[in-house]
């Protein structure tokens, strides 16, 4: 009797122990992914409340979470106005950073001489802390809004510039040759080859720039203070600090953090939508 004469047993239960263990682990992780952070947050808030009550800490030193929540509800109108202003400056700065950063990257890419002339100064602008430039800016720029925009732009444009530059230069060299063989113009090469190739890099830079433009806007507000243009969240934090309204400081801070999270999430979604069809980063791997 040869081996071939023995028929294989029928395939009834096709899930072996490994499969079952892996499925269970995947199920647990799916729940833990959102449940654990929620549990951690609840524990932290409960611990905070307990520390405040157990030690009788006065609210002008550390308010309990209930007071912060109260402030958030009570001052909602004022805080949301402030959030809109800060958000508006952040958004405008981000748009300018994209236009300026990507635009400069394309210019640098098209002209090596331009790149050699200006790139070092872009680096210098980036490495000089914006807090130290901001006071100067507000001396020379009359409009507070323009000054704040400039501050936020200064911090936000560089990641877009440097990552887009990297992307434009990361074109597959065979594809570049192919475009040359087919007699592509400079514009065609940029439009059909370099820009699509640079997109994932650009989006990476954009995510960083989103966070940085919020930082830039907050720093600018702190330096500019109020000046008839209404007040943003950073100014509200500072002002509440002067009045020892610590609960409101926390409430405003929570809003700033929420804005940062929102920006990051929005840009991540954008990035996913643009890359999901083709880019490695957006693929879900099968086992």
């Amino acid at each position: 009797m040869t081996l071939a004469d023995t028929p294989p047993p029928p395939l009834t239960d096709t899930r072996d122990e490994d499969e079952i263990r892996r499925a269970r682990a995947a199920r647990i992780e799916k729940i833990a992914k959102w449940a654990l952070p929620v549990v951690m947050l609840t524990l932290t808030i409960a611990g905070w409340a307990w520390i405040v009550t157990a030690n009788d800490i006065p609210h002008y030193i550390l308010p309990g979470p209930d007071r912060v929540w109260g402030s958030l509800v009570e001052d909602w109108g004022m805080l949301i106005d402030a959030a809109f202003l800060t958000g508006w400056i952040t958004l405008l700065a981000l748009i300018l950073a994209v236009v300026g950063g990507a635009g400069l990257a394309i210019l640098f890419n098209q002209s090596r001489m331009l790149e050699l002339s200006f790139y070092p100064y872009a680096v210098i602008l980036q490495v000089t802390p914006v807090v130290s430039i901001a006071p100067l800016i507000f001396i020379y720029v009359d409009s507070k809004v323009a000054g704040m925009l400039l501050c936020a732009w200064l911090v936000a444009f560089f990641p877009v510039l440097s990552s887009t530059t990297l992307g434009l230069n990361s074109v597959d060299h065979n594809l570049r040759d192919l475009f040359r063989i087919y007699g592509a113009t400079r514009w065609q090469r940029l439009r059909y080859l370099q820009l699509p190739a640079a997109l994932p890099y650009f989006l990476g830079g954009l995510k960083i720039a989103g966070g940085l433009s919020l930082i830039g806007a907050v720093v600018a507000e702190l330096v500019a203070g109020t000046g008839g243009i209404g007040s943003g969240l950073a100014f509200r934090i500072q002002e509440a600090g002067y009045r020892l309204n610590i609960a409101r400081m926390f409430a405003a801070l929570a809003l700033v953090a929420a804005m940062g999270v929102f920006i990051f999430a929005a840009l991540s979604v954008l990035s996913h939508l643009l890359l999901r069809k083709w880019h490695e980063s957006a693929l879900t791997r099968e086992r």
Partner: protein, 264 residues
């Protein structure tokens, strides 16, 4: 796609297409990549450039495709060279990952200013020729290595070029896929009647595919000898196992061994 008709004269009586005359390429003033290469390419030829690394095969292709200028010597196209005269297949499939199969094949047309609608039928037809008409809207990452290479070949032949350059196109594929693609490449050539210059490291591939094998040697890169493979097309698996094939392979191997030993 219009089939490019050409004379079915025996070798040597085909109409000339391209001529390299005494081409030298020297890098940095002293590295001789290619020395005195003369090659006449005729319409309908399937020429393999066979040789060890550093023999100037790729340099020759780059010079023919005008990506590089010869240090000395000339490249002359019969009737001058125009846009769309060349199709190229690289060792890598070299597809744009952000574009679908159809969009990748559209590229040479697009760069010539043609809209997708105008050339949709041509794109469909070449994809049918390489057996990928069902994958029109797939992205490269969804395809296997062999399928990607087929898209690359479809793109190269889409504009019905006068000459197709292939730079070790199947070197990175597994043996089974490579055999299949070799067979299909010959069928494709019979259908559309193109002229091919094919760079390879493989003696067997060169014998199976080509009617002329140009054996090259390294340091300095140069043409050592030219062999004729006079077996008739179509060639299929029968040819691969024939004594004739083995004899050609032995001749080519010997020539290649000489190329490895020959001092400059």
């Amino acid at each position: 796609m219009a089939v490019r008709h050409q004379d079915i004269h025996p070798l040597g009586q085909r109409a000339p297409l391209l001529r390299l005359s005494h081409v030298d390429k020297i890098f940095g003033g002293d590295v001789v990549a290619l020395r005195d290469m003369t090659l006449q390419v005729n319409q309908g030829d399937f020429i393999s450039l066979l040789g060890p690394s550093g023999c100037g095969k790729s340099t020759a292709l780059r010079i023919i495709s005008d990506l590089m200028h010869p240090t000395r010597g000339r490249v002359d196209w019969e009737g001058g060279q125009g846009q769309g005269d060349l199709g190229v297949v690289f060792q890598e499939p070299t597809l744009m990952p952000w574009a679908t199969v159809a969009q990748n094949v559209w590229l040479p047309f697009r760069l010539a200013g043609k809209s997708y609608g105008d050339v949709k039928d041509d794109i469909l037809e070449v994809l049918r020729l390489v057996g990928l008409e069902k994958f029109l809207n797939a992205y490269p990452r969804e395809l296997s290595g062999g399928m990607k290479m087929r898209v690359s070949i479809a793109r190269a032949i889409a504009t019905n070029p006068r000459l197709i350059l292939m730079d070790e196109p199947f070197a990175a594929l597994d043996e089974i896929t490579r055999h299949k693609l070799n067979n299909d490449l010959l069928k494709l050539k019979a259908k559309i009647g193109c002229t091919v210059i094919f760079v390879t490291h493989s003696v067997f591939e060169s014998v199976f595919l080509s009617d002329r094998i140009v054996v090259m040697a390294a340091r300095p890169g140069r043409v050592l000898t030219e062999l004729t493979v006079d077996a008739p097309y179509p060639r299929g698996e029968d040819f691969r196992t024939s004594p004739e094939y083995a004899a050609h392979a032995r001749r080519a191997s010997e020539a290649l061994r000489d190329a490895m030993e020959e001092p400059a």
